[in-house]
Each structure stands twice: as structure tokens, then as C-alpha cells.
Amino acid sequence: MSQLIIGQMLNGVIVGSLYGIIALGVTLTFGLTGIVNFALGAFMMLGAYTTWYFYDVLGLPYALAVLGAVCAVSVVGYVSDRALFQFTRGNLVNGLLVSIGMISVFEALVLAAFTTTPKDLTYVLPGALNIAGIILPKIKIVVCVVFLAVIFGTYLALTRTWLGRAAFSYAQNPEAAALMGVHTGRLQTIVVVYSTALAGLGGGLYASMYSIEPTIGSGYILKAVEAAILAGVGSVIGALGGGIILGISENIGSVFLPSAFRDAYGLVFLIAILLVRPGGLFGDRP
């Protein structure tokens, strides 16, 4: 039994880090542009399909395929910012409408190009580790480590680099940041694009573990928004923490309670935490 629980916790951490990387994009985008970009789930899906295309169809090495996918998704992110999101700055409702519209467009395009048949990548990294009776596929460990590294890297960038500090200061007080000489428009575009790149990376790595279809993004974006709220919007480390708490509570909940309701266990946790700490768990951390 304890093996099962520990195994499920580890699985929770892995799924949670995927929630976390998208939640990070949600929280950064919200902090700088005041909108919740629900289309980040669709960007994740684009990342997954582009990776599949580069790896399975064109035959590139997996790492290169993911890198290419992240670049391609960033370009789409940049175009979407210039064409649409730059007109929804600070306007939550318009941002919501635009991002939901984008989900339909992206899903329809992918559907038209690749049909609804799920795609599976040929094994990227076969094999599994057996740690004291707990079996963990190697690929899941690698994916989790990459996510953790990117999230901590982002945290370091936000606290140690000029551009990162500018972004963090803007999230706290946009006007004061402008008074420091921060070019606010440029900064917003950078962060919107970076968030889509994170989602693209999430999708690219997701594709190595699970089969992909045009609708995979919708479940993950909801979890990511949940994780961001749970953590306290605006916190990088919190996005990771929130994602992992959500991942673990779903997986452990499914051990003791019917797994059909797994999506609800995280929500119960969310409500419980917000009752005690309305600002979220990490609400005042970078």
C-alpha cells in the first residue's frame, strides 16, 4: 500500500510539474498584461503536434524536434500578440474572449490537418527505473527534471537579471516601472511570447509520454489556472508548488476514492486552501 501511495505521489509530482510550467505562463501573462490567457492550453497542443511532426514525420532527433517546436510556437505567440493580445492589455474580458476564440481556431486547424486520430510518438527513451519496487519510466523522470530546471531558471532570471527584475517590478506597479525607464510595451510582448514558449515546451515533452489529440490542451489549461490561483497569482515558485500540490492531490485522491472524480479532488483542495489563505499559498513571493 505504501508503495502504491509513494508511486502515486511521484506521478503526481510529474503531472504537477506539467501543470506548473503552464501555470507559470498563466501567472506571468496575468501579472504583466492583466489577462488570463486560456489559449495557453492550445499553444501546448500546438507544441505537442509540432514536436510530433518534426520527430516522427521529418525524422529529426527528439531534442531538436522539441527545440524547433518551442521556436515555432513562440513565433505563433508573437504573431498572436501583435495581431490580437496587444489590444487586450489590462482588459480581462476582451482577453478572455480573444483567447477562447484562439482555442477554437487552433484546434480546428490541427483537426483539419491531422484529423482526430490520436498520434503517438515512437519511443523517445524506453526503459524504466525500479527504485525499491516503485517503477518509474525514465522519460517521465527526464521530463520532470527539465520542467523543474526551466521553472527554477525562470525564478532566477526574475530575481537576478535586469529584464527579469523589470518584469517583476512591472507586475507590482506598472506606473512605477515606467518611471524607472522600463519600456513597458516591449516587456509585455516578451512575457506573452515567453509564456507561449513555456506552453510549447510543455506540449513537446507531453508528447513523449502520452498520445496527443487536438483537444489535449483544454484539460491542462484549466488545471494550470487552478494551480496559479492555488499558489497565489504572480508567484513563479508558487506556480510550480501549486501544480505539484494539484497533481499529488489528484493522484492520491484516486487511490482512496473513485478515480472518475479525480478532477474534483484538486478543486476541493483549492477551496480548502483559499478559505485559509485567500491570497493563495505563495501570494507574496516572486
Binding site: Q172, E175, A176, R285
Partner: protein, 234 residues
């Protein structure tokens, strides 16, 4: 060094500044005094580029400011220390000061300047790693001024720096402003606290419902009967 001519600003249909003109020379402390809603903050915010003017000229250091962004004005040496301090509450004191130097190209010299700010405000050195939002109002005001100085300005716009501060801190603030001016910094001070403002300024403009009604030497103005009656409570 600053030459403002016929500046008109409005919020919607409401005219807030009705063609005001004033000037400021290097190393000079000039104050804008006047009651609430006279247009003091609006003047400063327009100079900093946070608010657009309808018409009028803002010449600073020989260049025309009206058409360039806030960030570019900071680069020219025109910095606003905004009303209510507006420090970054979730950053440390040290990080706040670093942000003040954000636009500078000589980022290697930034630590030396921070050292200079710390010797000017020893309290900030003590609290260097502390979260700025947890400090007292007076300390936050010192930090806001220090952060403004980090941009190496030629002209500093101070918006209501005494707001909510204890009398002893206000006195200290006056000394700091005088010292900065002695080092060659020009300061434009918008204040409701006319006693403090006239005490530390060289010249003053009295603003009322968007018009400059009186101006002149600060000491002389503080003795003028109409100013005394309206702003000094005499």
C-alpha cells in the same frame, strides 16, 4: 533647464491645467503649492510623460519632451518620485534601488551609487535586504527618493513627499532636498504642506484650479498676506 510654456491638460472634458508657464534653473528648488485638486500632481505627471498634454511646450535641457515616452524622459535625466512613494513592495530595498538604475548603460557603476545612497540614508543600509513593503512610511519615502537618484537625474520631480509623514521626518526631508540642490540637482516640489515647501524652496508658484495665481521668491511669498492666510494658517 526646464521651460514650460502654455501647458494645457484635461481629463475628459474637465480642464485641469489652463495654460500654465513656468521655468526652473539648474540647482534650483522650485515648489508648486496650492490646495487639493489645483493641478500640482497633474503638472508633474505631465512632465514625466504619464499624462498627455492637450497643448503646450515642455523644453528640458534643450530638448522637446512633449512627444517622447516616460522611459525616454528618464534617460534624458528627468525623473519623477511619485505621490504615495510607489516603491516595489515585494522587492528588497537593494532591488528597488537597482530598479532605479534600470535604464542606465553603465551598470558596472551601479553598486557605487547604491553605496552613495546608503551613506545619504543610513536607515536604508540597515534594511538593505528587507522587503520594501514592510518599512515605515518615512523609510519608504527615503527609498523612493533614493531610487529616483539612482537614475542620475538632472531634474527630480517630487510629488507630495511629506504626505502622511511625522513632523520630524518632514524636517529631515527638507534638509535632504536642500543638500541635493547644493550638489547641483534641480528639484520641482509639489506640496500641500506649504510651510515645509516654502521653507526649503528658492522660488514658488501658487497653483489654483489649474492657473498659476502668484509666483516669486519663496521667502517673500511666505510673508505675503494672501499666501499666509490661505496656506499657512495665519
Amino acid at each position: 533647464m526646464l521651460d514650460v510654456t502654455d501647458l494645457n491638460v484635461s481629463y475628459g472634458k474637465q480642464k485641469v491645467l489652463r495654460g500654465i508657464s513656468f521655468e526652473l534653473r539648474q540647482g534650483e528648488v522650485v515648489t508648486l503649492i496650492g490646495p487639493n485638486a489645483a493641478g500640482k500632481s497633474t503638472t508633474l505627471r505631465t512632465l514625466a510623460g504619464l499624462k498627455r498634454s492637450d497643448s503646450g511646450k515642455i523644453a528640458f535641457d534643450g530638448g522637446d519632451m512633449a512627444s517622447i515616452s516616460t522611459a525616454e524622459r528618464v534617460k534624458c535625466g528627468l525623473v519623477l518620485v511619485p505621490e504615495g512613494r510607489q516603491i516595489f513592495p515585494r522587492m528588497s530595498v537593494h532591488e528597488n534601488l537597482l530598479m532605479g538604475a534600470y535604464h542606465r548603460s553603465d551598470r558596472d557603476h551601479v553598486e557605487d551609487d547604491i553605496e552613495r545612497i546608503f551613506s545619504m540614508f543610513p536607515r536604508l543600509r540597515e534594511r538593505s535586504t528587507q522587503r520594501a513593503g514592510s518599512m515605515s512610511g518615512g523609510e519608504q519615502q527615503m527609498l523612493a527618493i533614493g531610487r529616483g537618484l539612482m537614475s542620475r537625474p538632472k531634474l527630480m520631480l517630487l510629488d507630495e513627499p511629506t504626505l502622511g509623514l511625522a513632523p520630524i521626518i518632514i524636517e529631515e526631508l527638507g534638509r535632504i532636498i536642500r543638500n541635493l540642490a547644493k550638489e547641483g540637482l534641480a528639484i520641482l516640489l509639489a506640496e500641500q504642506n506649504a510651510v515645509m515647501a516654502l521653507g526649503c524652496a528658492d522660488r514658488a508658484y501658487v497653483l489654483q484650479s489649474g492657473d498659476i495665481v502668484t509666483s516669486g521668491d519663496a521667502k517673500r511669498l511666505s510673508e505675503a498676506p494672501e499666501v499666509k492666510q490661505m496656506y499657512l494658517g495665519a
